[in-house]
Amino acid sequence: MNTLKKFLGLVWMVLGPLTMTFLFLQAIEKVGLTHTDIERTNTILQWAIILFIFLPISLGLMIFGFYAWKGEYDRLPENSEEL
């Protein structure tokens, strides 16, 4: 199980930047369509909000992956005194 935790840590580390890249590409594409294909539903403001929120979360996912890769979750504390 610990090997799986570590291996998946790499996946989470890659997933963070991949998600952000995907969101950036979506934002560029959808904002470009504004006023023509889908009325005014995909404005720059809406996509800016999405990117602003998910950027730190993606970073958090990368840190989580890094900790997992380093084996920080191999043994979890059994009570809060261990924190």
């Binding site: 979890l76 504390p77 924190l83």
Partner: protein, 507 residues
């Protein structure tokens, strides 16, 4: 200490904490429940779909700032105590809700209207970010160690009951005033009413005592000097914050908001159900499912929190698309309409001149009653051109009322979704409380909770509606967002979380 607190005192603690939290949730959810009407009030009449999406964005803004409220008020709660902090959040929430009810419409003050509402919505989000962690911590710190899941699950019912209360008051107000008056100014009443509820709750909370664990910590001089630093600068604690977020609260948040908020939005805006029908279905579903918060909370004291929460996520992942497909299929009246019309009653035709043009728009509306008991309004807006004659527009079917068997079938499907909510949400307060030590508990548990619920969950209606508006998407495309997030959380939770409970949180 907590282990020896008399049972009736514990229920006083739960009652006083829960009432205030319930009112805060009520305040927070009225906005979402009235998104369509508020959209018409805050934005230009020709804004179309963007009025709803912008209103949902303002609604979502309240969720987005919840983590910041968690940091600000969580820090205060760990510094000055739980009691005074969540008294402050209650005042901020009640005040901002009341003022939303007083904001003039776009017609009166232009774009100042949505901007002012946005500011008040941000204050609401900050207040809620501070409230929940305090209430959950306060109850958990009073509860005996073998019944922490059971006692904190009462706090967990408040979010759903707050939604229930908001829907109930909206439906009652609308039925008393009538649809037109409600759309004009009656929608303000549920906001204004909040001030009365908040005053009652403040009175009750003033009589509460500080948490025994925090009082002990304070007496011993062990209160944290910098909760933010201790929570997030300490790697051992920070990694648990990340685990709580990605392995539990993220998935829990999307299950909560899909089952209770997106479901109602989908029934009203995508399936075009009647305003009252879409809310009655949710009200019944909530009424039947709410006791299960306590059932799963208590059960988690016996079998652990982890697998109950993750099972709820798994069932959501598997069943969301089939459930919403049924919603779509059963409200598609286009085929039945060909053969099963019992009567159709045309409404008076109305015409409006198009500005700077000799043409006009003619609206015809027919109330259609089907043999199976269903009914709907068929609205068609044609352009009457001075040169080309009548140019027919596309007919819209709206205000659908379901036949009784289908209505109860929908109640069952919503009940099932809320049952999943009770599985993921019932045990989570106890789960979070047990992860972190007393002196930084308020701060540490509030952040993952509010990112999971406020950001991932609160954005479900907004992002799902946005995805469904992409070209090439189907009405079910929006569900990929909660399904994807829940899947990620399920995998992380199953592999990384422990099912062991920390019996002593008195540290």
């Amino acid at each position: 200490m907590s282990e020896t607190l008399p049972r009736n005192n514990i229920f006083k603690v739960i009652g006083a904490s829960s009432l205030g939290t319930l009112i805060e949730w009520y305040d927070f959810y009225i906005f979402g429940s009235l998104a369509v009407i508020i959209g018409h009030q805050l934005f230009p009449e020709d804004a179309g779909a963007s009025a709803l999406i912008n209103t949902l964005a303002i609604f979502a803004a309240g969720f987005i700032v919840r983590p910041f409220g968690a940091l600000v008020f969580g820090r205060l709660g760990d510094l000055i105590g739980r009691k005074y902090t969540f008294l402050l959040t209650l005042v901020l929430m009640g005040g901002s809700t009341f003022f939303i009810g007083l904001i003039p419409s776009y017609k009166s003050i232009g774009y100042a209207a949505p901007i002012l509402v946005l500011v008040l919505r941000l204050i609401q989000g900050l207040a809620l970010g501070g409230e929940y962690g305090g209430a959950a911590t306060y109850v958990a710190e009073h509860a005996p160690k073998n019944k922490r899941g059971f006692f904190t699950s009462w706090i967990q019912t408040t979010a759903t009951l707050g939604l229930f209360l908001s829907l109930g008051i909206i439906v009652i107000t609308k039925n008393i005033l009538g649809a037109e008056t409600f759309g004009d100014w009656g929608w303000r009443i549920p906001f204004l009413l909040s001030i009365v509820l908040v005053v009652v709750s403040i009175y009750i909370r003033m009589k509460m005592h500080e948490s025994p664990m925090f009082s002990k910590l304070k007496a011993e001089g062990n209160v944290s000097k910098n909760p933010l630093k201790e929570s997030f600068n300490n790697k051992a604690n920070f990694k648990m914050v990340l685990l709580a977020l990605f392995g539990a609260t993220m998935g829990q948040g999307v299950i909560w908001y899909t089952g209770q908020f997106y479901a109602q939005s989908f029934l009203e805006n995508t399936c075009k159900l009647d305003f009252n029908d879409s809310r009655y279905i949710l009200l019944w579903g909530i009424a039947f499912a709410t006791p299960f918060f306590v059932v799963f909370g208590a059960w988690s004291d016996k079998v652990g929190r982890k697998w109950i929460m993750l099972s709820g996520m798994l069932l959501g992942i598997l069943f969301y698309r089939p459930i919403y497909q049924v919603f779509l299929d059963d409200t598609d009246y286009t085929k039945i309409e060909q053969t099963a019309v019992l009567s159709s009653t045309p409404a008076p035709i109305s015409s409006v001149l198009i500005a700077d043009s000799p043409d006009s728009l003619r609206t015809t509306s027919v109330k259609v009653l089907l043999k199976n008991g269903a009914s709907f309004n068929k609205v068609q807006i044609d352009t009457v051109s001075a040169t080309k004659g009548i140019l027919p527009g596309k007919a819209l079917i709206k205000d659908k009322v379901l036949p009784t068997p289908v209505f109860w079938k929908f109640v069952g499907l919503i009940f099932f979704q809320i049952l999943l909510v009770t599985m993921v949400y019932g045990p989570i307060a106890a789960f979070l409380v047990e992860l972190f030590p007393t002196k930084i508990r308020y701060t540490s548990m509030s952040l993952p909770y509010h990112i999971g619920n406020g950001v991932f969950g609160g954005l479900v209606p907004f992002i799902a509606t946005l995805i469904a508006s992409f070209s090439g998407s189907t009405p079910l495309s929006g569900l990929w967002y909660p399904i994807g997030i829940a899947t990620l959380s399920l995998i992380i939770g199953a592999i990384y979380l422990s099912n062991k409970r920390d019996e002593s949180i008195n540290d």
